[in-house]
């Protein structure tokens, strides 16, 4: 992607008329040598097409990378639907939905920025990129709240999974104040508060939905994994199965009121959203770099390849989230 760009900062020849998006606009015909044309390409359109093909292939590999995880998700879900049922209720659908909207909006602003680059509208480009970058920050910010809340509640992956009890919460001094039940989460109160009108009444124990939390008495309505008595939730290897023959006939959990192995859900949740988060961060880095270059005035209708390619990448990041959101938050 970045290869196509030579490092000089010479001003783009904005006088160049052709818009040349997609279907091989013949930029470099005749006059002069575009300073952004790399030595091994013959024409700007050859360079643009190469970059575009390369980016599409790269996006293909990214989809396959996530595809592996989606596959794993599907298989584990097929094997243990009860885990996924129990697990997904701990997620905050409102925050997820807000994040979806934020990301969709940023995708729109990105598309707008690409359009501005094609029409040599430098101010529009800068504004579009800035808004997209803000969208990225917004997404990561909300993700941060979600993560810290999960972590504070002990919904951590694998062997670190140790959910704290609602009962335990009620007992903590902080809980007396009504909302802001989760001690670790209340530092970031504003964001959850904004989402306070959250709809899912029964999934009460997600602590960020603070206000109603203190009001409803915890036990009855809560999902199985967190419900059982004081000894239940901490499911650690040793507790599950002694490993011998007697323990588990087919790797399946031993039914009952406690859903075992709910940590699997959070493991895959953190894997999927974590990997996606890393991609968002990478995308934000790319956009910041594009912003720097557009401020410098590198892009014009004659040369906007990096903006176009960065845009494609950002749309992919968005697209993956569009799949993640229903799979993790909504499907019951």
């Amino acid at each position: 992607m970045a290869d196509a760009v030579s490092p000089q900062t010479a001003p783009a020849d904005a006088a160049h008329g052709s818009q040349g998006h997609g279907a091989g606009g013949g930029d470099a015909h005749g006059h002069g040598h575009n300073p952004f044309l790399a030595h091994h390409f013959e024409t700007m359109s050859q360079q643009f097409d190469s970059g575009k093909l390369g980016m599409w292939l790269f996006l293909g590999t990214e989809i396959l990378l996530f595809g592996g995880l989606f596959c794993a998700y599907a298989i584990w879900r097929g094997n243990h639907p009860e885990i996924f049922h129990a697990g997904h209720q701990h997620l905050n659908k409102t925050l997820g939905a807000i994040n979806t909207v934020v990301l969709l909006l940023s995708s729109f602003t990105m598309a707008w920025a690409v359009r501005c680059a094609q029409t040599s509208n430098r101010n529009g480009l800068i504004l579009g990129l800035t808004l997209t970058l803000l969208g990225g920050f917004g997404f990561m910010g909300i993700k941060y709240f979600e993560y810290s809340e999960k972590i504070a509640h002990g919904y951590r992956p694998g062997k670190y999974y140790a959910p704290k009890h609602d009962a335990a919460h009620a007992a903590t001094p902080a809980a007396a104040a009504g909302h802001a039940a989760a001690p670790a989460a209340d530092a970031h109160a504003p964001a959850p508060a904004a989402a306070a009108s959250d709809g899912h009444a029964s999934g009460a124990q997600t602590a960020a939905a603070g206000s109603e939390h203190a009001a409803t008495p915890p036990p009855a309505a809560t999902p199985p994994a967190v419900a059982g008595g004081a000894d239940a939730p901490k499911i650690l290897p040793a507790a599950v199965a002694p490993g011998g023959l007697a323990a588990q006939p087919a790797g399946a959990g031993h039914g009952g009121e406690d859903t075992p192995n709910v940590h699997l859900y959070f493991s895959i949740y953190f894997c999927l959203t974590g990997l996606h988060g890393i991609h968002v961060l990478a995308g934000m880095t790319v956009i910041a770099w594009l912003l720097m270059r557009s401020v410098r005035g590198d892009f014009s209708s004659a040369y906007f390849d990096p903006v176009d390619l960065g845009g494609l990448y950002w749309h992919l990041v968005d697209l993956i989230w569009i799949y993640l959101f229903p799979l993790l938050y909504l499907i019951d």
């Binding site: 091994h40 590999t61 298989i75 584990w76 670190y160 940590h263």
Partner: protein, 563 residues
């Protein structure tokens, strides 16, 4: 850069600048930050060959340990680490990148008449990822070394093994991305940078195979990436994806792993088949036979290669139906492989066959891949696989296939060596080295078929004494191979220091790289070559003065058989 014109240097060749990609600039940094595909290719070659020597050393340690049942030179633990490191180094660090990244990088842009690959910086980044991945993988030695075998099967790799697991898996992950980016670069280069007038069926067959390889690289490697990532997460966070005690499924890892690793076998063998097509045609001085069948068979192998991974799991408890489907598809992949072999033979038929060292390697490949491919039939057949699975029969089979790739890698190194370095090597020693490798290889691995079918399982430190005779013959063969490799390193280094100056076209090849100087200039060509039939040897004539072949236009009257 390279435009200082120095008049006429080599007899019989047009006057040219003496500047080439090797001497255009000098100093460590000029190599470390080079964007020239040829220099990157050479750096890969040096790195990969060094890794090959290391992997070979581990192989010799394994073979030495197996001279006697029970302890010979080392302990259980170290033996297990040796074969793991041997496998991981040879597969991930040597064979997978071997031909594409080293020879492909050097030859691909020249063969399509381009100045470079489409993304030179990405190319350099791939190289450094290869270096970092390799360092990670080898650093496992410092952390107690990993002992899982190169397949990293769970739950052993997640519950037991050593702390060295993390660096080696991280290393394989990084190497995977190096491979993805190389493949991506090659696909775009072949699509977008072909010389004007060069159609898809005008491509040299090596590039068809590199293209097919690149497809597999970008489609399969991401899945390996995610699998290794899950393995790392499982190991560090104990998430239990593959741990039955925590609700996971250990066999699922095998599916993920082989979904990549079986196509990876074709990542290893396809480029070798491409080089074969070049070598057989050039050294038979005859037009390649059945171009389209060879080209399409590469793509067919690449695509079918995705659908056969389950044949690694006939005895792991998958259902009979699934096993049947995988077995059936496995047999279909035998067809395109056979097509290639028949076409190579037909190319030799009525040719004018020179037995230079690259050709000797190519003919060795016919023998070795012949056995490797045919023994695959025993393993694709479900009933016989039950008996042979995880025995030395399998070990011998995949060595016959993968070492076939190494033989072609060596053949390719010898073939392009004059072009890369501008120097000739000692041909008699090269033939001797090829002979030693060939003999040593067959002694080492043919015996392994026999002990395997008698039931000798793989990865055994200690073995029933009835197999000792086989093991000793096998080890003896490995030492012969060791000698061959040492000899090769010797004469190649000697060639660098005092080799005879190479002509532009020492073998009589018709592809573009033989139409530029040896070594080529920075931008590959002095003048853009004209696209014509790249397997037409009618225009090539031996020139005693140049010590190589030169192109001359054949007068219209001369016999030019029509296609």
């Amino acid at each position: 850069m390279a435009s200082i014109s120095v008049p006429g240097a080599i007899a019989g060749q047009p006057a040219r600048s003496k500047a080439n990609y090797l001497n255009a600039s000098s100093g460590f940094l000029s190599w470390a930050f080079t964007l020239d595909h040829k220099r990157i290719g050479v750096m890969y070659l040096v790195g990969i060959f060094t890794a090959f020597l290391l992997g070979g050393l581990f192989a010799l340690l394994v073979r030495t340990e197996l001279l006697t049942p029970g302890p010979t030179i080392t302990t259980h633990d170290w033996y297990n680490r040796f074969f793991t490191l041997h496998g991981a180094i040879m597969v991930f660090i040597v064979i997978i990148p071997g031909i594409p990244a080293a020879l492909g990088n050097f030859a691909l842009p020249i063969m399509i008449g381009a100045k470079d690959v489409a993304f030179p910086r990405l190319n350099l980044a791939s190289f450094y990822m290869w270096v970092i991945g390799t360092l990670f993988a080898i650093s496992t030695l410092a952390f107690g070394a990993v002992d899982t075998g190169w397949t990293f099967y769970t739950p052993y790799s997640t519950k037991y093994a050593f702390n060295g697991m993390i660096p080696v898996v991280a290393g394989a992950f990084i190497l995977g991305f190096s491979s993805i980016f190389t493949g991506l670069n090659f696909i775009v280069t072949i699509h977008k940078l072909r010389a004007p007038g060069m159609g898809w069926f005008g491509l040299p067959l090596f590039l068809w195979s590199l293209y097919a390889t690149a497809l597999v690289q970008i489609l399969a490697t991401p899945v390996l990436g995610i699998t290794l990532l899950l393995l790392l997460v499982e190991r560090t966070l104990g998430v239990g994806f593959f741990n039955p005690e925590l609700g996971g499924d250990p066999v699922l890892f095998q599916h993920f792993f082989w979904f990549y690793s079986h196509p990876a076998v074709y990542i290893m063998i396809l480029p070798a088949m491409g080089v074969m097509s070049e070598l057989i045609s050039v050294f038979s001085h005859k037009h390649i036979f059945g171009y389209k069948f060879i080209a399409f068979s590469s793509v067919a192998i690449a695509l079918l290669g995705f659908l056969v991974w389950g044949h690694h799991m006939f005895v792991s408890g998958q259902s009979n139906l699934v096993g049947m489907i995988f077995s059936a598809i496995t047999f279909t992949i035998a067809v395109p492989s056979a097509i290639k072999v028949f076409n190579w033979l037909a190319t030799m038929y009525k040719g004018s066959i020179s037995l230079n060292s690259p050709m000797l390697y190519a003919l060795s490949f016919m023998w070795i891949f012949g056995i490797g491919g045919l023994t695959g039939l025993f393993l694709g057949t479900m009933a016989t696989d039950v008996h042979l699975h995880d025995t030395y029969f399998v070990v011998a089979h995949f060595h016959y296939v993968m070492a076939g790739t190494i033989f072609v890698l060596f053949g390719g190194i010898h073939y392009w060596w004059p072009k890369m370095t501008g120097k000739m090597f000692n041909e008699p020693l090269a033939r001797l080295s090829c002979l030693l490798l060939f003999v040593g290889f067959n002694v080492t691995f043919f015996t392994q078929f026999m002990m395997g079918s008698h039931g000798m399982p793989r990865r055994y430190y200690n073995y029933p004494a009835q197999f000792q005779m086989y093991h000793q013959i096998s080890s003896a063969g490995s030492y012969i191979m060791g000698l061959g490799v040492i000899l090769m390193v010797g004469y190649l280094l000697h060639s660098l220091a005092r080799g005879r100056k190479a002509p532009d076209n020492p073998w009589g090849g018709a592809t573009f790289e033989w139409r530029t100087s040896s070594p080529p200039p920075v931008e590959n060509f002095h003048e853009q070559p004209v696209v014509d039939d790249l397997y037409d040897y009618e225009k090539l004539f031996w020139d005693e003065q140049a010590g190589g072949y030169v192109r001359r236009e054949v007068p219209d009257g001369a016999a030019r058989p029509a296609h």
